[in-house]
């Protein structure tokens, strides 16, 4: 509970993501506030997803990818040498663009798999946690009668909420969303957005989106990334140009590149 009291949930210091020798984004410094929705927006190729994936060490699962710098959850550096990436990911969950329902598993098992991994094998306890997670992901009412059916039989929007429930079940403090609505229809998108606003009470949320209206609708703070096409010999590089309250970013941008982007002149 110390984290809730603290004004900062995550601190990002001089974070430099690399793909091989190429530094994909210029050093990033950000402070993520707890129980807020932080949106990361920017044109294609600006490295917004890369930065997001650095925040729970998913970045390094890509071949030859690595990151330098510090990312702290509370006071702990997630890149400390004695910290295992899989433990980091249990504290900082992630939901992806493409909804993933594990094909060979039932709806129940899709969520229970993460719980079992955490050492919960008691049937009653499993059932309780699965129900809680499905409630939290606003999916319970729709699936409570068919928990043993294949997760893959759900609609795209339902699968995305299933993915969210799976993240929640593990008990994270922060949940990262990588364009969670870009594969969904408008109604499913609306449901997810409402869900994100709900989840804000219990979790710190960081969302990457290419939909500026979405960022404006739901986020409390917005970080704008842009592409610097001629920064060095390795090609274009992403750069964080502005990071402030969402209202200020959209109504009174400080950086001319932000203004160009949100008014539709670039990207």
């Amino acid at each position: 509970m110390t984290i809730e009291a603290s004004p900062v949930a995550m601190t990002i210091q001089q974070l430099k993501p690399f793909y091989g020798k190429r530094q994909a984004v210029k050093a990033v410094d950000m402070e993520i506030e707890p129980h807020k929705i932080t949106a990361i927006i920017g044109p294609s190729g600006c490295g917004k997803s890369t930065v997001l994936r650095c925040l729970n060490r998913m970045h390094e699962t890509v071949l030859n990818a690595r990151a330098e710098g510090e990312v702290r959850l509370g006071s702990e550096n997630i890149y400390a040498p004695d910290i295992d990436a899989s433990l980091v990911r249990r504290k900082i969950g992630m939901v992806f663009q493409q909804p993933v329902a594990l094909r060979t598993r039932s709806i129940f098992e899709n969520i229970a798999v993460g719980l079992r991994l955490g050492g919960i094998n008691n049937k009653a306890q499993l059932a309780e946690r699965v129900e809680q997670s499905l409630h939290a992901a606003a999916l319970w009412e729709e699936v409570k009668d068919k928990l043993n059916q294949a997760g893959a039989a759900l609609s795209g929007g339902q699968q995305q909420r299933l993915s969210i429930a799976r993240s929640i079940a593990v008990g994270p403090e922060v949940i990262l969303f990588d364009e969670p609505c870009s594969a969904l229809d408008p109604i499913s998108t609306l449901k997810i957005e409402e869900l994100l606003l709900e989840l804000r009470r219990d979790y710190t949320i960081i969302i990457v989106t290419h939909n500026m209206q979405q960022a404006a609708r739901i986020s409390d703070k917005t970080a704008v990334f842009m592409v610097d096409r001629d920064s060095n010999e390795h090609g274009p590089q992403g750069v964080l140009v502005e990071y402030r309250g969402t209202r200020e970013v959209f109504t009174n941008p400080q950086d001319s590149r932000t203004e160009d982007y949100i008014s539709g002149r670039v990207g």
């Binding site: 969950g93 992806f96 493409q98 294949a150 039989a153 993240s167 079940a169």
Partner: protein
């Protein structure tokens, strides 16, 4: 401008080309499939005819001849032409000699049938030593044909057991090795070792099976100075592992990256995501690969000739020579006795059915029981 008149100048040509190409692909499909159907049909019809209860319950028995005192010693005598069943096309079914009053019956080498045999088709091997001269000389005058039939009695139970034992053992060895190696290749693709392994498996899976036989012969049979079932299993392993590795790797690569990421994102270590998420997703393809490997292993003959040698008895001794269905098929096809030729077809038929049966069983066992897919 109507739709018809707006057709481009080369429209007719395109349509003809389209028809020709479709026709060619259909013809090619037929050419490919007809021989397969013929083979399956031929093996089923001829081999199926060899199937009796004895075929499954008995082991090798020496070819039996008529109980009219035909002496085995005469069988081998080259001077006695009638004793050697040279005409392998002779029907193994008993022919009633009286129904075919053939003036040439006495010299027809193909008429190997004897009325007394037809009465007792499953007669045990008869080696009489009562001094009676062969039926040719005794009965022929009376019956019009006196050539004794050389029937193959007994069955191939020893070979069925041998094949199950040797191939099963090879599968037990190659399954974990093959699948774990494939996981290494698919989940850690950047490793330089992976490139070398991939190259070697490609080479091995394309090489003739006799090579595996020679390797097992030199490394195991010669070293231990004995043909053995285990040497056969290892030679089959050499052939099955590359097949399992390559097919498993390919299907593991087909599992979308998003599935792996979803597993990793909930804090699963790589091995957990591999075994509880990635492998179950790809299980149908993996099973197909294993089936291919099993079918290949079960049907291989060349390595078995050099390793398990063959046997006429039921044996469960892994360190001793053992029988196998492909070996029986090979040896019995060369046999001068029509009865054994038929048994060769029967063995081929059993081999085919065995692969089919295992295929069905594995598919039933691994099918997805979730509803709504």
């Amino acid at each position: 401008m109507s739709i018809r008149t707006s057709a481009p100048a080369n429209y007719r040509g395109r349509k003809v080309t389209d028809t020709i190409m479709r026709g060619l692909s259909i013809v090619a499909t037929l050419i490919a499939i007809i021989p397969l159907i013929l083979i399956i049909g031929y093996v089923t019809i001829i081999g199926g005819g060899a199937i009796t209860t004895d075929f499954f319950t008995k082991t090798y028995e020496p070819p039996a001849v008529s109980d009219s005192g035909f002496n085995l010693g005469d069988l081998g005598a080259p001077a006695d032409a009638n004793a050697v069943p040279a005409d392998t096309n002779a029907a193994p079914t008993p022919i009633d000699p009286n129904a075919t009053p053939d003036p040439f019956a006495g010299i027809d080498l193909g008429a190997l049938t004897d009325a007394s045999v037809s009465a007792e088709p499953n007669a045990p091997p008869v080696v009489t030593d009562d001094g009676a001269v062969p039926g040719i000389n005794n009965d022929m005058g009376a019956e019009g044909t006196g050539v004794a039939e050389v029937t193959a009695t007994g069955g191939v139970l020893h070979a069925i057991i041998g094949t199950l034992l040797v191939t099963g053992m090879a599968l037990l060895i190659s399954l974990p090795i093959g699948i774990l190696a494939a996981i290494f290749l698919a989940e850690y693709p950047g490793n330089p070792v992976a490139t070398v392994v991939r190259f070697c498996t490609d080479l091995l899976s394309g090489s003739p099976s006799i090579i595996a036989g020679v390797v097992a012969y030199i490394l195991i049979v010669v070293q231990f100075k004995s043909f053995s079932a285990i040497a056969g299993a290892i030679s089959l392993t050499l052939l099955m592992v590359p097949t399992i590795v390559r097919t498993t790797e390919e299907v593991l690569k087909l599992v979308p990256e998003s599935v792996r990421e979803a597993a990793l994102a909930m804090g699963a270590p790589t091995w957990y995501s591999t075994f509880t998420v990635v492998v179950p997703t790809a299980i149908a393809g993996i099973v197909t690969g294993v089936m291919l490997a099993f079918a290949r292993g079960a049907g291989e003959t060349a390595p078995l000739i050099m390793t398990v040698l063959g046997s006429n008895n039921i044996s469960f001794d892994l360190l001793a020579p053992i029988a196998a269905l492909p070996l029986i098929t090979y040896r019995y096809t060369e046999s001068p006795y029509p009865g054994e030729n038929t048994q060769a077809w029967g063995a081929a038929f059993i081999l085919m059915m065995l692969v089919l049966l295992v295929n069905i069983l594995v598919r039933v066992a691994t099918r997805n029981r979730l509803q709504g897919r």
